[in-house]
Structure formats: C-alpha cells, structure tokens
C-alpha cells in the first residue's frame, strides 16, 4: 500500500515539473532537451536528500547533521533559497518567462486580473475592504468538515508514521501542540492548513 503511494507521488512529482503547455507525462517529454535542466534540478535534489539520509558510511559529522529532525525542513528551505539566489545571479527579472518554461507555476489568466505586477505577493489578495463576510458562511460546512477530518486524521497519521519508523516513545499531545502552533502560524500568514504527511 505504502509502496503504491510512493510510486504515485513520484509520478505526480515528475508530472508537476512539466510546464502546463504539455500536460501529459511521457518519457519523451521528460527527457526533452529544454526540460532537462529542470528534471536535473528536481530529481537531483530529491536523490541528494534521499541518499544523504541513507548512506551509512558517511563521516560522523555529516551523519550527525542528517540525523537531526530539522535536516529535511532546512534542506527544503535551502533548495528554495538556492533557486532564488541563482535567479538573482543570472539577472533574470522576467518571472513570466520563467513560468512559461515551467520553473514557476503559471497563474491562470482568468484570476490574473487582480494580481498585476507582483504575482508572487499573495498577501496582496488580502484586500480587507473587498472581503464579503456574508459569503464566508457559504464555505462553513466544508471548513468544519476539513477541521474535523484533520483533527481525526492527525492521531491516525502520527501513530501510523511512528509504527512505520519504529519510533515507540512519541507523545500524541506533543504532536497536537506542534500541529496547533504550525497551523496557527499558517493561518496568521494566510496560507493553507497543514498536517503531517506520511
């Protein structure tokens, strides 16, 4: 079961790197010369992450580092920062061109009207004058469903992950506190709810 999840996540990951102009995953599209740098950047960092955490013979100091719980999150942040540093170093200012080749996600034309120049600045969408509070109630049913399902699935996911990773001494209450804080922070900066992925 878990293997199948892995395979379909892997395929989804490969497909997401394809620009929206060619929506179907195929070997020829994947290894097209224009797509190769992106394939290398996405697959390369994934391979680096997975091998750096698994190599048993790596020297002590690196092993110490990769075994820390913060290694994976910090790695993900570093990948993002590296990308923007390279973009800045190459002097690329036209983000639309980057999006058209697939390095960035493209925003659909229909929703672009409000965004104008700064597409990346999603905080601009929080135009408090324009928020229709009465319409918020329309989504309440799904919000409650999402919260209930999220609250129910965290204990299941957490214990399933603990079982999978052979971690016997974990505290569910600590999981609740951690996820509570992370979701409050996510809400405060205006992003989506998050939960442990196993």
């Amino acid at each position: 079961m878990i293997g199948a999840v892995g395979v379909s996540l892997f395929l989804l990951g490969l497909e997401i790197t394809l620009p929206s102009t060619m929506p179907h995953l195929s070997l020829s599209a994947l290894f097209e010369s224009s797509h190769l740098p992106m394939l290398a950047a996405s697959l390369g960092s994934a391979i680096f992450l997975s091998s750096s955490t698994r190599f048993a013979f790596s020297p002590g100091i690196i092993k110490d580092m990769t075994e820390r719980p913060l290694y994976v999150p910090v790695f993900c942040l570093v990948v993002g920062f590296t990308f923007w540093i390279i973009i800045a170093a190459c002097g690329i200012a036209d983000l639309k061109r980057l999006a058209s080749v697939g390095w960035l996600f493209a925003v659909e034309a229909s929703s672009r009207q409000d965004l104008a120049a700064n597409e990346w600045n999603y905080w601009k969408l929080f135009d408090f004058g324009k928020i229709e509070w009465r319409a918020l109630s329309a989504g309440v049913r799904d919000t409650v469903l999402l919260v209930v399902i999220g609250a129910l699935s965290l204990p299941i996911f957490a214990s399933a992950t603990a079982l999978e990773l052979d971690v016997l001494d974990y505290s569910m209450d600590h999981e609740f506190v951690g996820h509570g804080i992370s979701n409050l922070v996510a809400g405060a900066i205006g992003t989506l709810p998050n939960l442990l992925v196993c």
Binding site: M1, S8, A138, T143, A151, F157, G187, T191
Partner: protein, 83 residues
C-alpha cells in the same frame, strides 16, 4: 494531508464563488480569508485537544484503520489528477 484537504478547499472556494456570483471582485480576498481562517481553526482545535490531553485516545484506533487511511491516499491522488 494537503492531498486530502484540497477537495475541501476547492469546494470552499466554489461555494464562495457561487454565493458571490461570477466575476465578483470580492471572490479572491474572501476565499483567501476563508482558507486562513480554516488554518487558524484547525490550529486552535489541535491546541484544545492537547490542552485536554486527548493524545491517549489515539491508542484506540486499530492498526488496520491506520493502514487503510494511508491506502486511501492513492484514490485521493488519482481523483486530484483527474480534476
């Protein structure tokens, strides 16, 4: 979780759009606000669960349920791909 929550987020956005009508300028800000409020609500629920020490209740989920829950992400992924 992101995979399972996407259909819900989508339907929150859809119902707000339906309520306001096509092309209403308030659709996007309201949806963003609804998403942020969802995160805050979920965070608050987790903190309440922690405050009442509900962690022990997790032990009552049988292992078959857990493996089943992980398995159901496959249909979720497929549904997401076909949206």
């Amino acid at each position: 979780m992101l995979v399972e929550s996407l259909p819900f987020l989508r339907s929150i956005a859809a119902s707000i759009q339906k309520k306001l009508g096509e092309g209403h300028p308030g659709t996007l800000p309201t949806t963003m606000c609804a998403f942020a409020l969802t995160s805050i609500l979920l965070g608050a629920v987790f903190l309440v669960l922690a405050a009442f020490r509900c962690g022990n209740l997790a032990g009552y989920f049988p292992q078959t349920v857990m493996t089943g829950v992980i398995g159901k992400s496959i249909p979720c992924l497929h549904r997401l791909k076909n949206l």
